[in-house]
């Protein structure tokens, strides 16, 4: 992340530019099945190549299991199963595990592929209601970066609230 503070002597226009840049939020885009999703970068701790995952019997559907990341125990979630996109997950060489901080707990999210980081300005984010009025709480918006990609912006916290 580059420093956004205006340099001395660049005057008011630089300040304005910085302000505008500050309103942009950075998202990491990834693929789940047929769709592209994105999560705010601040919540992402690490991107991992597939690790051995131990299944936890009787856990909720959508929980793949637990893994150990350098001694820390993390639960791994399959969002595709959670969103009922597919019933099972297949790992290939593009698959990654996103380690995401969800309300203080580090959770692994299986994704088919990691795309890139998008810096979206306010104008490039549409409210989720454009997809219809009844959107699940974890969909917080639609990202429309220049270049034509359509990203479903996710906030994972509601998924893990009881």
């Amino acid at each position: 992340v580059k420093a956004l503070a205006p340099r001395k002597g660049e005057g008011r226009s630089a300040m304005q530019r910085a302000d505008e840049l500050g309103k942009r939020a950075e998202y990491l885009a990834f693929v789940l099945g047929p769709e592209a999703y994105a999560i705010q970068i601040g919540n992402i701790v690490e991107i991992l190549k597939p690790l051995p995952i131990t299944e936890v019997p009787r856990a909720d559907q959508g929980v793949v299991g637990v893994m150990s990341v350098r001694g820390r125990l993390c639960t791994v979630i399959d969002l595709k199963r959670r969103f009922r996109l597919t019933r099972s997950f297949t790992m290939d060489k593009k698959s990654r595990i996103l380690l995401v901080d969800v309300d203080g707990e580090e959770i692994g999210i299986l994704v088919d592929e990691v795309l890139q980081v998008y810096r979206l300005s306010e104008g490039e984010v549409e409210p989720p209601t454009v997809l219809g009025t009844e959107q699940p709480p974890y969909v917080v918006g639609i990202g429309r970066p220049i270049g034509g990609a359509v990203l479903l912006l996710l906030d994972l916290s509601p998924l893990f609230m009881d």
Binding site: P52, T54, E55, A59, S68, G71, L73, T75, S88, M91
Partner: protein
């Protein structure tokens, strides 16, 4: 991706943590001091130094909480400080009511602290109520006047600079008939700090130092002379022996009415002292800090000021005013840091295993023999040091049980006053050490046990007299180490529990039926009190309520891997025994395999493992049971309750791991026994907290994670009944609510 990592933790958090731990230490210290004070008052004596300690601790708390914007806490401290100031100045008396207020304040401190941490509601109303009560304790002005010291040959100019506290102490000492001594001491300015402390320490056993002031004499600029006013019961000769030194002279301050041949000359240089302006602030109602500052200004070069936040709580009650040096040898460590170290040890253990494997491979080849021998030696050394490190870390995690006992003593005092019963809490083994995390979890169950013992165990004073018991009840709290376990016993000399009453209640609640009741031993009957919701309240007897909260005790203790046992003799008393593992950080497990997956069963719950003989398995009331050495053992096929695919039918040999928790046994059928291991257990994340049957997970090497089974919860789930394997009928309704688990489609995570 490096920029994704992000910086975690910041200085503010760390300072907050420091605040919490420091405040907690002060609260703990306060609690200890108050208990000591309580004893002192009960003996009918007084301990001004202890009152001072409490005052200073509250003062420190006030500063600390002000610094961190904990307004409720600083408000309470402020009022409390006023009260304590009145106490130490003798304006109010230390009565039981005042002590109650002090105990309540300490309790509220604890609750405010947890609410600031976010662990509970803010006790705003309680604090408000207490503040009102504190305000009602009004000081009665001491009418003693100043005539009391007119009888002594004390310099009026000396009396003029005494603080109110010092004056009060002087008066109190004279009133209790102690003699006054004047000690003249010369100190070198360079070492005055330590030398003065040393002198104070030497003088303390013999009397009380009321004040000390520089005399202004002392020859050169390198030395300073102090005049110390000491009150003591001992004769001059003895004091001269105790407090001796090259530059020390002691003389008695004579009473004016005593016939005396040789009048003491007035201490030299008093006038000179009066000329030093800064050493004489106006005597006013100043707190300890003001006292202290006065002396600082007067006697200590400014660059040698000790830190103002003295770690009071760290000093043991016996050894107040320890030197700063000894305090600096201890460090406060966040338990999570120790957990982290323990994790590293766990990983090193994995490295050790890999090393062993390499050694074995090398041994297999003749040309590598020398290397193998060398490797073997390295492995052994590594193994030894790793063990030492593991033990070292475990040792650091250990804290004396006294930490939680102090809190209990306070609660016992409070509850017994609430119930108007007199109870003596006798504690032994407070020095017994146990894992810090266990200590934290122990206070709730122990509190329930205490409450039960006082509420339902100990009889009223009149009743006790009637049956010929001493009017004051006794609760004994004993702790001792037994192998890798710590045993806690809570024993009361109260009314005991009536098995007949409990059995009636158990039948009424459907825990057993009249027929099943025939075969129960007394111990089994008493165990009913641990059933959730168990109460004898609707029964016909006066023995009501005993057992309320006991299921919580059992649940909490089981969660720590411990066992609760209860024994009671009607009319004589009740004894509850809690057996706990000494640490939670490392446990021994039996690794086993079910449908190709590895699980670990804590060895503490494993009784034995035997080969399964399918022909021995019978169905009783829809449950599979087998007979082991003449006793019926219910069995459970783990693959079934875990929803794994059944093991291959052609597998020739399977095993039964017999687990026992408390008095209940269950056989778990597994495919393979892998072996015994010492593991570092880690908790499953919040997301998995609703999944029952697992105590946590551990790393097995090769980066794989193995789940650790929670034998107690599995047994609960499978047996779904209290009592033993006889499984009385009609028991379903009192089962711990059996949550329905959705079985995940197995095996598709590969």
């Amino acid at each position: 991706m490096a920029e994704l990592g992000g910086g975690r933790g910041d200085g503010g958090d760390k300072a907050r943590e420091e605040f919490f731990s420091e405040a907690q230490e002060i609260v703990d210290g306060l609690s200890r001091d108050l208990l000591l004070l309580d004893q002192v008052v009960k003996r009918g004596s007084s301990d001004p130094e202890l009152v001072n300690d409490v005052f200073r601790a509250v003062h420190t708390m006030k500063g600390l909480s002000g610094l961190f914007g904990a307004t409720m806490m600083s408000g309470l401290s402020h009022e409390l400080e006023d009260l304590l100031d009145d106490l130490r100045l003798g304006r109010i008396e230390l009565t039981d009511q005042v002590l109650d207020l002090l105990f309540q304040s300490v309790e509220l401190y604890g609750r405010i602290l947890s609410s600031v941490k976010g662990d509970g509601p803010e006790p705003a109303n309680e604090v408000k109520a207490l503040l009102v009560k504190l305000g009602q304790v009004s000081p009665q002005r001491d009418g003693g006047g100043t005539s009391f010291h007119a009888k002594y040959e004390l310099d009026p100019s000396l009396l003029g600079v005494l603080t109110e506290y010092e004056e009060h102490r002087l008066r109190a000492n004279i009133q209790s008939g102690l003699s006054l001594y004047r000690v003249h001491v010369q100190f070198s300015l360079a070492t005055i700090d330590s030398a003065l402390d040393e002198l104070k320490a030497r003088a303390r056993p013999h009397g009380e130092i009321i004040t000390y002031l520089p005399t202004g004499a002392g020859g050169d600029i390198e030395t300073i002379e102090l005049e110390i006013l000491l009150a003591s019961r001992e004769p001059l000769e003895l004091l001269q022996q105790a407090i001796y030194g090259p530059n020390i002279s002691i003389s008695e301050v004579r009473r004016r009415d005593e016939p005396s041949g040789s009048l003491m000359p007035p201490p030299p240089g008093l006038e000179a002292r009066l000329a030093v302006p800064s050493s004489l602030p106006a005597p006013a109602d100043v707190g300890a800090d003001a006292d202290w500052q006065k002396k600082q200004r007067a006697t200590v070069p400014p660059q040698q000021q000790p830190p103002s936040l003295a770690p009071m709580a760290a000093a043991s009650p016996g050894g107040r005013d320890q030197s700063l040096r000894s305090i600096s040898q201890t460090v406060r460590v966040d338990i999570r840091k120790l957990d982290h170290l323990m994790n590293i040890v766990g990983e090193l253990a994995i490295v050790r295993t890999m090393m062993l494997r390499l050694t074995e491979r090398a041994r297999g080849k003749s040309e590598w023999r020398d290397l193998a021998v060398e490797l073997q030696r390295v492995h052994r050394a590594f193994d030894r040091h790793l063990m030492q490190m593991q033990n070292g870390i475990l040792e650091v995690r250990m804290v004396p049980l006294g930490q939680v006992f102090d809190k209990l003593a306070r609660i016992v005092r409070q509850i017994s006053r609430e119930h108007d019963k007199q109870v003596n809490l006798v504690i032994t083994g407070a020095e017994t050490e146990i894992d810090k995390l266990i200590v934290e979890e122990l206070s709730d169950p122990l509190m329930h046990m205490m409450r039960n013992a006082i509420d339902h165990g100990i009889e009223s004073r009149e009743e006790r007299m009637r049956v010929g018991k001493p009017p004051i009840g006794t609760i004994a709290l004993n702790a001792f180490q037994k192998g890798n376990h710590v045993v806690l016993e809570v024993e009361d000399d109260g009314a005991g529990m009536d098995p007949a009453v409990i059995l009636r209640a158990a039948v009424r609640l459907g825990l057993t039926d009249a027929e099943g009741a025939q075969n129960l031993s007394t111990r089994e009957i008493l165990a009913f009190v641990f059933a959730p919701g168990f109460t004898t309240k609707e029964g016909v007897t006066s023995l009501s309520g005993r057992g309320v909260g006991m299921d919580i005790v059992k649940t909490n203790i089981s969660a720590l891997g411990g066992i609760v046992d209860i024994g009671s003799d009607l009319g004589i008393g009740t004894r509850i025994t809690v057996t706990l593992p000494i640490t939670l950080a490392i446990i021994s497990v039996l690794a086993l395999e079910v449908s190709g997956r590895m699980y670990c069963m804590p060895l503490a719950s494993v009784e034995e493992a035997i080969t399964l003989d399918e022909s021995q398995v019978r169905l009783v009331e829809g449950r599979e049971v087998m007979t082991v050495r003449g006793a019926t053992l219910p069995i459970c096929r783990l693959f079934k309750i875990f929803g794994h695919e059944p093991p291959a039918a052609d597998q020739q040999k399977r095993f039964v791991v017999i687990a026992k928790v408390g008095s209940r046994r269950l056989g778990f059928v597994v495919d393979r026994l892998v072996g015994q291991q010492d593991i570092v257990i880690k908790a499953l994340g919040k997301t998995l907290k609703s999944v029952r049957g697992f105590a946590g997970a551990t790393e097995l090497g090769d980066q794989r994670v193995g789940l650790v089974l929670d034998a107690a919860s599995l047994i609960n789930e499978v047996l779904a009944s209290i009592g033993e394997s006889r499984m009385p009928v009609g028991i379903g309704q009192i089962d711990i609510p059996s949550r329905v688990h959705r079985l995940s489609p197995g095996g598709d995570a590969e």
